[in-house]
Amino acid sequence: MARWVPFPEKQENGVTITHVPSRTAPQVRSTGFVARPGPVLVLIGLGAVAVVALWWRDTSAVVGAAGWLTNAGRITGLLAGYAMAVLIALMARVPALEHGVGTDRLTRWHAMGGRYVVGLMTAHVLSVIWGYAITDGQHVTDEAVTMVVTFPEMWEATAACLLLLGIGAISARAARRRIGYETWYLLHFYTYVAAYLAFGHQLATGAEFAGDRAAQVAWYVLYLGVAALVAWYRLLAPVRLFLRHRLRVAAVTAEAPGVISIQVTGRRLERLRAEPGQFFRWRFLAKGLWWSANPYSLSAPPGAGGLRITVKALGDHSATLAGLRPGTRIFAEGPYGAFTGRLRSRRQVLLIAGGVGITPLRALFESLPGELTLLYRARREADLVFRQELEDIAVARGANLHYSTGPRGPGGPFDAAVLAQVVPGLRDHDVYVCGPAEMTRAAIRALRAAGVPRRHIHHESFEF
């Protein structure tokens, strides 16, 4: 059984360092509005109810097999059209959502919702065609052709349907790592085209919208509103950040084998309102790097003096970063992420870091108020980065720090009894976990078994 080694290890005279009163770094608090996951889900649900109400109000009876099929097609179609707008809104990088719900959770919702939309759309297409075919006494294929050829806006809708099916298939392949992340990412933009193409037939053929000004206006508001969010937060806000703050690389330093830190400077950085625990998407305007934007967490509390990120060479991109020259301009988007001091509601805080997951926790370890304990897990001793910094912080603020090294897999240090022993009063802690998915799961299981309530366990995955 692997174990946790405390810092400092037993002193020679048998005395451990006494706890000095907590000195907390100045808090960077952004004052913006944040939307928590619960209320966001309720709002999305209410929207769905309103959309079903459109159908309910417009339908007087469901008669016969044709009626059942056609109406099932209408409801699924309406819901698919609604969900499509919601899914795009979730990915629009709206700060209230990014800071309140968190990017990793938004991404999970989006992925789940995406599959659901493809399912709804398929159900919609099949049941409407079938229902109309029964009404008209036609064969389904003839009916399908008639609908595509003669109904208004149906060519566009057919194209949208094929696009969405294609994107769905590509995402499934991407999940199985058969195609590259970049390819998947770029093809995903066709979702916008699909939403645009599908919009026409919703109003032109949707019985719920015919002659109903209010419903039409509501639908336009939904789609134009989402388009405005995308245009502002995905296109214009990053450009504004670029022009306003003029971020540049100040220095690149090696931290450990394959791990580098990048110091970033710029103008009026305090107005970025970045918080410890958050990340930016970084696009370095240098040869071979400018075309991809990658998310990296701030590895130190952001201040007017500069930002710092720390990157492990996991792929080609992060390996190339080591060659960045000071002065390179940066096109960054952010700050994003809900993994901040806002989540804390108790005085005692436990941070659990795995590997490069230390980066946001390193920033939180310095800046969170309260009594802190950091458990830092890595495969080998050499992979532990920031040792000096972490130990300095631990001494300066009287925080507890424990390391554990060893291979992945069973027999790791995440065990309810072990954690309870290393962290006295574990149940009364807020816990932040950041690390590889496997480790995060093991840590959460152990914490739950040790009696830490779910709402006090906060985790962020850096693999999205």
Partner: protein, 152 residues
């Protein structure tokens, strides 16, 4: 776990859908809508046969008011109403889209339903017929103009 969640989502959606649909009336007699009116199709222009016994059986005695033609994506729709005793006793379709086979099929099915709806509602506030959205819209507009003109 994700598989179980996906199955759950599919199941919940299907159950919700069936429940929603089942709450609506399924009996033709309860609904002032489709097949009841379709049954009248063969009766052609003879108005309101049987189903609206309250109306005068001799609509020819009433005055006929023609509505404005209402343009739709597929062509104009124009109706005329026969007013008798301050009520709409009959609706005649003067023109409807007939540009292709599909239009004719749709309108053969939809127009009698719309007429039936108009007669029972005694107004242009009637439900759209599924699959014939444009015709329904044009019909309603032309009917409304005729009603306005007749001062009903």
């Amino acid at each position: 776990m994700p598989i179980r969640r996906a199955l759950l989502a599919v199941l919940a959606t299907a159950v919700g859908l069936v429940l929603l649909l089942s709450f609506k009336p399924h009996d033709v007699s309860q609904a002032a809508q489709p097949p009841a009116a379709l049954a009248q199709k063969q009766s052609g222009t003879t108005p309101a046969q049987g189903s609206t016994p309250a109306q005068g059986t001799t609509p020819a005695q009433g005055t006929t008011v023609t509505g404005d033609p209402a343009d739709t994506r597929w062509g104009p729709v124009q109706v005329a109403i026969t007013v008798s005793g301050g009520k709409i006793a009959d609706v005649q379709v003067l023109q409807a889209p007939d540009g292709n086979r599909r239009d004719i099929e749709i309108n053969d099915a939809a127009l009698p339903i719309l007429t039936q709806e108009a007669l029972s509602a005694q107004s242009a506030q009637i439900d759209t017929v599924s699959g014939a959205t444009y015709t329904s819209e044009g019909y309603t507009r032309s009917l409304q103009s005729a009603i306005d003109r007749a001062g009903l």
